[in-house]
Symmetry: C2
Subunit: 80 residues, 2 copies
């Protein structure tokens, strides 16, 4: 049975935010599980963020930025 096609991002901004998180995570050589553990959130939440499925809160943006060791501004700059 073919796997269901991935749901589209909830918005272009959420999609771009997630792509930035994934790119930075992969550049650090971390798995979703490792980054989720580092940030203190569940890996399924992180997977949803990376797929643009989450309109996440300010506090979660800051938690993810801290776990990725980037300034939170870098994750949202230019988004509309």
């Amino acid at each position: 049975m073919p796997s269901p096609s991935p749901k589209p991002p909830i918005s272009p901004a959420a999609g771009e935010f997630g792509a930035r998180v994934r790119a930075r995570r992969e550049a650090m050589g971390l798995s979703q599980e490792a980054l989720a553990h580092e940030g203190g959130f569940h890996w399924t939440f992180l997977g949803q963020v990376e797929r643009g499925q989450r309109n996440l809160s300010l506090h979660n943006i800051l938690k993810i930025a801290e776990a990725l060791d980037v300034d939170p501004g870098e994750l949202v700059t230019g988004l509309r």
Copy 2:
């Protein structure tokens, strides 16, 4: 009867975010009502954001940044 003392921000980050929104709004010479109208949200929501009472979502961060004509990165850079 003395007015109740203002509630503290829900977090240092929410407090700083709100202060940045207020500073930029005032620099533009806009009232809360005018900025709320510009951004398409209720002025009471904006007041809560400015007082650091909201852990607002990514989409609302972008809506506020757009109404303030600033890059959203400027509103969150350096927050922890």
